[in-house]
Symmetry: C2
Subunit: 473 residues, 2 copies
């Protein structure tokens, strides 16, 4: 039997194994946002703090994860990793529909010389990690997608230590079967478009890689890519049409809202700051990539108060609302603006699992025949029965599948331990421009910020269309 | 990612991959029988033919397995493999309870210079393989355990070719889970003793190795070893007490019966030939290894007509009868001979699966409490409830688990193909000493031999205790 010495050595060095090994093991949209932040110097140098927050308070992360090891992993990213020439070359090659370059040469030069800001790490009295990143926005923003996967994979390693060699073998066998069975339910659904958005919550780097390859292989054209730039590059060697996928995130309106309150955004009022984000974005990226994320201060008021040009945008990424309602709300808004919804994109990316993907696709990608409801759809076969469903898209639907794709390991432990229960871990802007940053979202339980700042923001934006919705991941 | 060049090269040479790579990848009891055959020169040189017979006629093996490749695999064993010094040294070290050597130096010299007889390979009109081994008994006997695993693994390879890389991954994940779940039901059953007897019907060499390692790891002391000498040596590096396990097989009474009919066994009458086997065996091996296999011409007549000294033997290996009845029959016979059954061994090795192992253990290794029956036992927990069962062995029980341990792959194919359905493939003595060889067994459907020879044997031995029992494996 041949001996893979490299693997053996790697196994022996398990604890020394770095989780983030290249800076492009990060979500593509963070790069798109970083270029925007870099481009507008009033954004680039605004001071911000990102903070890690575990919304699943029952899982006391600081008592699970070894803080010394976490510190070593973060220090490696900060001190040893730099953007490599090979990656910069790959970024230089990224284009909009093959026409013009997506990244400016000056930005790529900035990236090469860029340094991340430092971090502050401690243990909270509540058993949670106290981890913050404070610096200029340009130095801080990329930390989100280094910090979350590192914490997640350190938790994974602690879980793996509960098993011996045979149990590990069975654990991964179960995880593979679970993934396979999920994908079999989706395989062959007409018009399905699905991408991996699971970097931040992944079980591990290698598992995410396994997952995206399995998705590409099983789902074929229905799997459109991954949010992870490094993974997308690896995948493209095997799947020609695989894309790095991404839009933009809450941090843009959150920081611009704070800047406006601090008087750093000229005459833009706080209530208009979400649209200023969109204005800068389309100035930077032109007609491409125009998918807005409307829920930072509530979707309903965002749509009602949006300037008419927002209806020109290609699509909307739904978050933090009942997704069935959110989709209908977007379609109704498009119609009120005289737009044809079938030319627009509705991107779901919040707490998806196979069931929700199937039900949302049934509702928006076709016509459910009389006598049936979304609850009658549980697998691909249900979509192939013309008595039940017709593939007539009401809108272009796509899915960005996260935690439940790259970290669906609960139930796989051979002795039934629950150490792989998914948690709702985020890394959010908590301070910007010297003020507390705020996110209201459509869900009261997902609001972040100091109570006084939240109250003030509610006065600015209102609370229309908001609700209490339990959060799993 | 590191590259395992040896593995890559091996993968590329997949079709060239030899299934049998060392002559000790064979059942240990074949070696014990070979020494007996070698020791008694009237046995050693008697001409015999072994024939491969597929009792599952619905699976047309010659249309599945590539005959040219089968020929190449068999030729490799015949022409290229020899007993290696390292293996001979290991055999020299084998002892009875650590006291005296199990193999004679002269036999080991014979083994080193031994050549296998040649084989005849063709395709039958019935879609089955026509494969026979004709030579002296000493040259032919070892072929059984080269021929069966080669045919089995070639069939396996054809099945594996139906799957792409991802499907293969899922297939093996399912197989591992299936094995794990079987072993979990057995783990912790008080007094369980179980060994791997699955070489002849294994899915593949590597899978058998995986299975025995998993058994050793999960079952601990309850897993006593494997019939495969090579595997046992490999296992012993990890599990200290692992043993190569084996007794003797039908070929001994079948050949001696034919020799007796041909006048080559002195004044031993055909009806006494089964006991002559036992006499020679204990002359060769003394008090050790005395486990008889009584069913070659029917268990009931074997026991009734056995000389008193047969009751001194340590145990009985049950075959071809309803095992619950066979065990009771043996216990009753022991009592009729004034022997204490709790000092004797009852070894089950016929068509076992988890259910039958559990039910037989419940019946013979303890006392089933009033109000319960064997059907109330389905997993280890049932044995730990004193209201249900007490561990008070009625006899020493052991299990030699074959096909359903090393080749339980049905139901694992990701697209549901049935190419891994287990089949009942055997390699039996069909001719010996110029006559047709016969086996009656306890099951009419398992009788082998020409009809006239079977009739004659039924006249010699009678048909008491025989029945029709469907054969799966």
């Amino acid at each position: 039997m041949s001996i893979d010495f490299a693997k053996r050595a790697d196994d022996h060095n398990y604890n020394a194994d770095y989780i983030i090994r290249t800076l492009d093991d990060n979500d593509y949209y963070k790069l798109l946002m970083l270029q925007l932040i870099w481009k507008y110097t009033h954004l680039r140098d605004v001071p911000v703090t990102f903070s890690v927050i575990n919304r699943t308070v029952s899982v006391r992360l600081a008592e699970i994860v070894d803080i010394v090891e976490l510190d070593r992993q973060l220090a490696h990213v900060e001190q040893s990793l730099r953007w490599e020439d090979e990656t910069i070359d790959a970024l230089r090659g990224q284009a909009f529909h093959g026409t013009h370059a997506m990244f400016e040469p000056a930005f790529l030069n900035f990236l090469k010389s860029m340094r991340l800001c430092s971090y502050k790490l401690g243990k909270g009295a509540d058993g949670q990690l106290d981890l913050t990143f404070t610096g200029t926005w340009a130095e801080a923003t990329m930390w989100e997608l280094y910090g979350l996967p590192i914490i997640g994979e350190l938790r994974t390693r602690e879980g793996l230590k509960t098993m011996d060699e045979q149990e590990l073998d069975i654990f991964f066998a179960r995880a593979k079967i679970k993934l396979w069975d999920m994908l079999q339910r989706l395989k062959g659904i007409p018009g399905l478009k699905l991408a991996d958005f699971g970097t931040r919550r992944r079980f591990s780097h290698l598992w995410q890689r396994y997952v995206v390859e399995m998705c590409g292989s099983v789902l074929g054209e229905a799997f459109t890519g991954t949010s992870n730039f490094y993974m997308a590059r690896q995948l493209r060697k095997r799947f020609r049409n695989m894309e790095a996928i991404g839009t933009n995130a809450h941090e843009l309106p959150m920081v611009l809202h704070a800047m406006s309150r601090a008087g750093l955004l000229g005459d833009i009022a706080p209530k208009d700051s979400p649209y200023e984000v969109l204005r800068l974005w389309q100035e930077m990226y032109g007609g491409a990539l125009r998918v807005f994320l409307p829920d930072t201060f509530g979707t309903t008021n965002f749509l009602r108060n949006a300037p008419d040009w927002v209806a020109e945008w290609t699509g909307m990424r739904e978050d933090s609302k009942d997704p069935h309602e959110a989709g209908e709300e977007y379609i109704a808004w498009l119609k009120s603006k005289g737009k044809d919804p079938t030319t627009k994109l509705l991107l779901f990316s919040d707490g998806l699992d196979v069931d929700t993907i199937i039900k949302l696709h049934a509702q928006f990608a076709g016509v459910i025949q009389p006598g049936y409801s979304v609850d009658d759809f549980t697998c691909a076969a249900d979509f192939l029965d013309a008595e039940k469903w017709l593939h007539q898209p009401r809108i272009r639907v796509a899915f960005g599948w996260g935690t439940m794709l790259t970290n669906a390991m609960h139930g796989c432990h051979p002795r039934g331990l629950d150490c792989f229960k998914p948690i709702s871990l985020v890394c959010k802007v908590t301070h910007a421009a010297g003020l507390g940053a705020v996110k209201l979202s459509n869900n009261y339980t997902k609001a972040t910020g100091a109570p006084a700042d939240i109250d003030k923001a509610r006065k600015t934006f209102g609370s229309e269309g908001m609700a209490n919705i339990p959060v799993t991941v």
